[in-house]
């Protein structure tokens, strides 16, 4: 593949091949798109990824079972709770460690807060990519409060390293429950404000509705997951359909794209599914905090130098970017034989080449933003 070109292919028409990235502000990280255009219209956009490949899967074969946990944070640093949870769940499935109920609730609480924070970043940067700057600041402002809460919970604001194999690292600090409930009361009002500010803004709706439609069939075929899949009208959520942890205790709806302002599976549906999901996450956190059982936060007797019998397991968790699956293989030693993270952004990037033909260049930005790709999650 020829790279780093900016040239006219033919003097007689408007065909061009040009690089979109890797340092372009609207590509959500270091991703390059090699774009073939005819004037403003795309022939094709070929993603060129790997700039953030840090060989995290190989690192997993070297560190011990516990030692890999901080590295999982770096798989998706916008919502680092989910790789934590996914990896811990996979090893627990393989070893048969039972997680105490309270720890499962704390996992659900921390994950749902992380989901809200991640969606706020996603929606904010999406509107910024499209040309509205203010909603981003609104989103970041709310996320700051969540960061403060998570910092009080586990000491970190970005790479949390909060979950452990067999439980979580810390219990709730004093007064945290009340602070969080107060934040949720405020947040539910904020969602209405955000909708009025941007979601139902006529210019914004026209910019996104009917743009880059992905049908449900294509979404399944290309392995889209999470809000991208639901935006295309496929009713599937791992938390509800294959419940893990504490999720079967909670009541929540799964928002599915139905052509809110245009066609099912357009950019607006993916966008608005995330908006609705934040409300559902807020519900889950509230329920979990109110029903939080007493008890231990770590399973008893999880060996420090954990040895895992030969075998393999796959865990599925619903991350902010859709289903995140960790595949771990053990060979009986104190290190993993193979760790593999299947992430939502990776497959979302796979669809861009086939979804892009015919779009305007500016709509490619909308498509990338609506798929909510996070570069480190693609490359790992």
């Amino acid at each position: 593949m020829e790279k780093l070109i900016l040239r006219r292919v033919d003097r007689n028409n408007e065909e061009m091949i040009l690089n979109f990235g890797p340092q372009h502000p609207s590509t959500h990280g270091v991703i390059n798109f090699i774009v073939e255009t005819d004037g403003e219209v795309l022939r094709k956009a070929v993603p060129d990824v790997g700039y953030l490949h840090r060989s995290i899967e190989k690192i997993g074969e070297v560190t011990g079972w516990h030692g890999f946990m901080p590295f999982t944070d770096r798989i998706d640093y916008v919502a680092a709770m989910f790789p934590n949870e996914g990896y811990a769940t996979a090893v627990e499935r393989l070893t048969g460690i039972e997680v105490p109920r309270r720890a499962q609730y704390l996992r659900a609480i921390s994950c749902e807060l992380a989901r809200i924070a991640s969606h706020l970043v996603s929606l904010g940067t999406m509107s910024m990519d499209i040309g509205a700057f203010t909603p981003m600041l609104h989103g970041i402002r709310e996320r700051e409060t969540i960061n403060d809460l998570i910092e009080a919970l586990c000491g970190a604001r970005l790479t949390y390293n909060y979950h452990r194999i067999g439980g979580v690292a810390f219990d709730l600090p004093e007064g945290w429950k009340e602070r969080t409930l107060a934040f949720l009361d405020h947040f539910d009002k904020f969602l209405v404000e955000f909708d009025r500010l941007i979601s139902f803004n006529e210019i914004y709706v026209r910019r996104l509705a009917n743009v880059a439609v992905i049908t449900g069939k294509d979404a399944v075929d290309y392995g889209l997951v999470g809000p991208n899949l639901r935006g295309s009208g496929v009713d599937w959520d791992v938390r509800r359909d294959l419940p893990y942890g504490a999720y079967d205790d909670f009541e929540f709806a799964v928002p599915v794209g139905q052509g809110f302002k245009g066609t099912v599976g357009d950019c607006y549906d993916r966008y608005y599914c995330r908006c609705l999901e934040m409300g559902e996450s807020s519900k889950i956190v509230r329920q979990a905090l109110l029903q939080l059982p007493e008890g231990e936060i770590m399973a008893p007797k999880v060996a420090r130098n954990l040895k895992v019998e030969a075998g393999e397991a796959l865990s599925r968790v619903e991350s902010a970017r859709g289903e995140m699956a960790f595949y771990v293989v053990a060979d009986g030693t104190n290190k993993a034989y193979r760790v593999r993270a299947r992430t939502g952004s990776f497959t979302a990037m796979g669809i861009i080449e086939s979804a892009s033909p015919g779009l305007m260049i500016a709509d490619l930005v909308a498509l990338i933003a609506s798929l909510d790709v996070v570069a480190p999650e693609i490359d790992r």
Partner: protein, 200 residues
């Protein structure tokens, strides 16, 4: 449907080309498929009523140098019936070749490129088999167990000294410098105060 029930169905259709390992005490069970029947088996799994594996959840590989194989592992899930299945295909480590699943699930496109990139497995029938994450001229397949680093790429070094070692060397040289300037001390006029050293 459980793995063993699916195995019974597949055995009736494909005979010994699909075999099951004894179920492990913990973790997931899997079925092993012969490479040449893989596409056929997968199409059957996707299209047969009652199986309907419409979602190819993951496709990756595991290197087993002791057995001299690379296992390509496919995780399937059915959205409608909520069951899952693990398929494994063994390929010779010397020249691993596995048929591509792109005709069955399009998501296999990027997964297979990744496996090609990191394990060196060739997928026959893949429309665009190029390296995905690594540069096109990278040498070797990093996720193989016997991978040896080439020591950088186009002049970009891939090793870095421990910063503490570097700091210690600076300290040592400063100390040596100080000792050198202090030892041939002139006997005539001893300094009233020791010269300030660079290590604070």
């Amino acid at each position: 449907m459980t793995t063993s029930e699916i195995h019974d169905l597949l055995k009736a259709r494909f005979g010994e080309d699909v075999s099951a390992a004894p179920p492990p005490p913990k973790g997931d069970a899997w079925l092993t498929v012969k490479a040449e029947r893989l596409v056929e088996v997968c199409r059957f799994l996707k299209e047969t009523a009652g199986l309907e594996f419409d979602f190819c959840e993951d496709l990756t590989a595991v290197d087993w140098p002791k057995r001299n194989v690379i296992e390509v592992v496919v995780h399937l899930l059915s959205y409608k019936l909520k069951h899952s299945l693990v398929l494994k295909v063994e390929a010779d480590r010397g020249s691993p070749v596995v048929p591509s699943l792109y005709p069955v699930w399009k998501t296999a496109d990027w997964f297979e490129r990744e496996v090609y990139d990191l394990f060196g497995v060739t997928f026959t029938g893949h429309p665009d088999l190029r390296r995905l994450l690594l540069p096109d001229d990278w040498v070797g397949f990093p996720l193989r167990k016997d991978y040896a680093e080439q020591g950088g790429w186009h002049g970009i070094d891939n090793v870095r000294e421990n910063p503490l070692v570097e700091l210690k060397r600076l300290d040592d040289s400063a100390r040596a410098e100080a000792a050198k300037s202090a030892s041939p001390a002139p006997a005539a006029a001893p300094p009233a105060t020791p010269a300030p050293t660079s290590q604070a």
